[in-house]
Symmetry: C2
Subunit: 369 residues, 2 copies
């Protein structure tokens, strides 16, 4: 999407024709910096340190990581080792597995000398597929926004609440939860987005606001505590969030705090939709709350916050007494009963096994491996 | 309660015998500083700038503010003017009104020369009443904790989730939501407290952690997004929160985000109790969501965060792109249907008009004025 009028993606092949560029998202919103990846290790670091984040972008970066590994050593052992290294960077990301399985399947039958260029082509296909997928999610979500807008006075904005950053920075382009927003805005439908700051890592405050602002979409930053109050007072027409992993029964594992917003939406009859590519459906899991392992992350994510000082420098500040104990889980699970619908590249589905199987079953259970 | 083994209150008469000392809570947790109040204006600033916060402590500070005003000018006009100035500092705090009405009622019939010492005595009574009230809240809440502990294995901690700071720093001593915790701890019942950081002002991260840590109570700082996940996984036995204002029907107006925790508690059958002194019941209001005006506060509370740099200095950092629009409401309303019970100085009541009227009706409708 646009950054000051220039169209960007979150990952692309450098003008040298072989290395890979990413936007270093840990430096946003205060610094717009591009990192160049030339090795497997650099790709692993980019994923592990969350310079790239978001399920689809992690998958794309992992695919390019395999390609970079094959440039250095195209042996079977190196291929296996690279997959292992990449898988270890973010254990919960389902389509990290998916992307690696897909590239590996192409590479294994090939002679080592052919692997590097084949991996490059396959990574490129994964990127093209992601863009196509997100555009399709956007088109299906756009129809929902169009219906809500039609019931309002002309010119009155549709108020959409979103959590975390399921935006174009989390994918290659369009985003998942943001794809309907960008398409509605580009179609001239007035929208306004409530952006949850999304503690502890503040992806909403730092990334979603940055995305929406640079594309020219009206928005307001809010604390994670506010959404319930807004919904009680009729100030939210629609919730749109992303998903890190969705069970075959429609339970949604997403950024910590998503469940609380879904509860508030249910309590106030606000439609709560989850935007996701079929590749993030986990067909092996049916009960999200009991079955999905939740990543526990560093205490420092909670006890310190990064931001910009008055002098323009970026610094961490401690917000609690020294040595305060912290508990920090990165995701939670929103049970299917709280989800109005799942917006996918194949259309909008009920959050149920029957509905998802009808739309996806066979293909995804193959590709999820 | 204790600070490094020394018993403190949040407000006290200075050793000079006439001026008033408070803990400057805007500087906690990094700096423990005491401010000396000698004038009405200093008392107003202390309330307005949230050096003192929490309904009961605001009331006590306002009472001392009237006393300081009377020292300078005990005329009727000065008394009226002082009440007006103090009322304007925090419009939603019901027992700011209550404390001022109580002191004014005593002063009006008196000759101006008698007013200063009478106001001092009345402020002292308000403080003594607050301590007695909170101790009684603690005793009733302690019984609930004792029952939960009795159902656990010996030595297993009772896990309590709290939001914001309804602690001794928000009152004169004991706190409201924390009073049962301090009494349980002092009685040797093992407890562990999940402390919501409570964005945007982080009273949980900065004050509740500081209080509990200095008194020696086990606790963990968590982001506001986490409570739902913890409740889904059986990691919370009891929620205890405070209340800024409670309608006669039992709707609870409290720090923004309380409603979301109450929804999660309901969804997971976790008892959700609100601790409050009878003086904060608003007998004129029956529908909290539609009737209670919610204070909208400065954007900068959301877009910047205060904390301690590595060099020990306290600084503000900006967490969003420059000029990001913000919406910031300070409170929300938790409907009575989500409240398991109201813990007051007179016992534990259902969150209903019938139940509250039985326990409080006559006296509070008189004193709330």
């Amino acid at each position: 999407m646009n950054v000051d009028g220039v169209a960007y993606r979150s990952i692309w092949v450098n003008e040298d024709g072989w290395s890979v560029d990413i936007i270093d998202q840990t430096r946003l919103p205060h610094i717009f910096a591009v990192n160049n990846l030339q090795t497997l290790e650099q790709a692993c670091t980019a994923i592990h340190d969350m310079q790239v984040r978001g399920a689809p972008l992690i998958g794309a970066t992992a695919a390019y990581g395999l390609y970079l590994a094959m440039r250095d050593d195209p042996s079977d052992a190196a291929l296996q080792g690279a997959c292992k290294r990449l898988l270890a960077t973010r254990p919960t990301a389902v389509n990290l597995h998916w992307a690696l399985a897909r590239v590996t399947e192409v590479l294994l039958p090939l002679a080592p000398a052919e692997r590097s260029s084949a991996a490059f082509i396959e990574a490129d296909k994964i990127i093209a597929l992601d863009i196509e997928t997100n555009h399709a999610i956007g088109a299906h979500g756009l129809e929902l926004i169009r219906q809500i807008a039609a019931a309002k006075a002309p010119g009155e904005a549709v108020n959409i609440l979103t959590h975390c950053n399921a935006g174009w920075l989390a994918t290659v382009d369009w985003g998942t939860a943001t794809a309907p927003m960008y398409q509605a805005h580009d179609a001239g439908i007035p929208i306004h987005v409530w952006v949850d700051e999304t503690r502890p890592r503040n992806q909403g405050a730092s990334l979603t606001t940055w995305e929406l602002g640079h594309h020219g979409i009206a928005h307001s930053l809010i604390v994670d505590n506010l959404g319930g109050h807004l919904m009680q007072h009729g100030m939210v027409d629609l919730c749109l969030v992303g998903s890190d992993r969705t069970t075959r029964s429609g339970d949604v594992c997403n950024k910590i705090g998503t469940y609380l917003k879904a509860l508030a939406a249910k309590d106030n009859n606000v439609p709560f939709y989850v935007c996701l590519p079929g590749s993030t459906i986990d067909w092996t899991s049916s009960d999200g709350v009991s079955e999905i392992p939740i990543e526990r992350r560093a205490d420092s994510e909670v006890s310190t916050i990064s931001g910009k000082l008055d002098n323009g420098q970026v610094a961490n500040v401690a917000i609690a007494p020294d040595a305060t104990p912290v508990t920090n889980y990165a995701f939670d699970v929103t049970p299917a009963r709280l989800v109005t619908g799942l917006i996918t590249e194949r259309g909008v589905f009920e959050a149920s096994e029957t509905s998802l199987a009808r739309g996806f079953g066979r293909q995804c259970s193959d590709s999820a491996g």
